[in-house]
Assembly symmetry: none
Homo-oligomer: 276 residues x 2
């Protein structure tokens, strides 16, 4: 039976199915396809970011041979095969805008909302794990661990995070003080040499928070930022910048990832101090 008549089964839907099919084809292939199979097996992760020409060159076969390989794997061509890996590489493109539209149309009550927020939270946490800048994180911990007093600043949506940080710092006996926005009264006179400001703000960035941060910087007090983007105005004012992206659901953005980052920071700092 010629290879191009191999009963075409459905294309693999997951990377695992792909692996299985690769194994199933195993030996019985002609030489060039064999080469493709073995090169692919060893370079699964490259498929997402390579062209056919590159993969073919890697397998040391002409592009047309590689195309045949894609077809006997069950795909219509290279593009379709690549799509599988691109999606696996950057998992899930759930389109929240349309889901929200559906939700509004559909029956769904509060439990449906809950499901959406749980999902958004999970994705935010996954995103955090994938995108955290480890260097920035340890730098932040280091700076904070050396602080005489940690001034936690966060208003509006960041306020719950700030208060949570203050709570955990207190539990861990780390000297920290929560700056409340209440009454427009600010405590910047409390900033002393050797202290550190931990500033938290997300778009639209709070004026007060930025102003306290720049004030601190002007006085030579280090600033650690917890914000949403490196391009945040807070980033420029800071000595260490931690970014956390929350997946939003409709107009609403939760705090799962931010809270996870906050507790990590607090516990890491508490631990570092305990050891010193």
């Amino acid at each position: 039976m010629p290879v191009d008549e191999i009963t075409s089964i459905a294309a693999p839907q997951t990377v695992d199915e792909f692996r299985a099919r690769l194994a199933a084809l195993g030996e019985g292939l002609p030489k060039r396809l064999q080469q493709c199979a073995s090169h692919v097996a060893g370079n699964l992760d490259r498929i997402a970011v390579s062209t056919v020409a590159e993969m073919a060159a890697g397998a040391d076969v002409p592009p047309s041979a590689f195309m045949r390989f894609c077809q006997i794997m069950g795909f219509s061509g290279y593009s379709e095969m690549q799509r599988l890996f691109r999606e696996a590489y950057a998992p899930g493109f759930p389109d929240y805008a349309t889901r929200l539209a559906n939700l509004k149309g559909g029956a769904g009550g509060a439990s449906r909302l809950l499901a959406e927020f749980v999902e958004a939270g999970r994705m935010s946490l996954e995103g955090l794990a994938k995108s955290v800048d480890e260097a920035a994180l340890s730098q932040a911990v280091e700076v904070l661990a050396r602080a005489g007093m940690i001034h936690v600043v966060g208003l509006r949506r960041a306020y719950p995070v700030a208060s949570y940080l203050a709570y955990v710092f207190e539990k861990m006996s780390v000297p920290a003080m929560l700056h409340e926005g209440a009454g427009r009264l600010d405590h910047r006179h409390a900033l002393r040499p050797g202290d550190v400001v931990l500033a938290i703000t997300f778009a639209p960035y709070s004026e007060e928070t930025l102003s306290i941060a720049s004030d601190a910087r002007a006085r030579g007090v280090p600033v650690v930022a917890l914000t949403d983007h490196l391009s945040s105005p807070l980033a420029r004012l800071s000595d260490a910048v931690l970014t956390v992206q929350e997946v939003d659901f409709g107009a609403f953005r939760s705090l799962s990832a931010t809270i996870a980052m906050a507790i990590t920071l607090a516990v890491a700092v508490g631990t570092a101090r305990g050891q010193a």
Copy 2:
């Protein structure tokens, strides 16, 4: 100075340089480029596997705007920028599971902690989705939607949740007031017929919160509870009880699931009121 005359510096050679340049551009950009910057900052890992059209759509700008963005970042075009990420992302699949494993194995103590908290958060969210009592949830929404004023009470670990609820209620124009523990001063005189108390507390249960709740009940003001167990002392005092269990890591308990429940409650109540 028009953006396309920004002195063209050499293109970033590493992802870190890229980040730095992104941060340096910061504010001064026109709207469309700002959108590009934001979207890119949050989706660095997708660049390797996406087309300009996809990235542009994600940033909600036309492809030509995205091209301009690539150019002011110092690249000749999208292809060149993408090459940086395709090469940088040689290391396997940044699939969540393996990334988590890397973090746990990683050198930095802080990254390890983060991995643990992320994992705990995810598990808490899953638990919440599985165990939610739908009847109690809709009952809580109903009671809150009818309230004249919602009094949000939560101290210590529950305080961040309470302040977050107050924030979201305000955003949704739901009359709500946050009872602060500050100064031992409590606002129970503010409780009026037709109001509702939303009380949040976890073991070890806060005296003050319980006392406000029982006070409210004595006056015939309904109480909605957000707590950790049906057997919580708060449960007995309440007209609707929502329970949320957080998975703890070591001695530390995060708030992912609680926050998810809180935002659900707030949005559901806001929506219900909007419709009425």
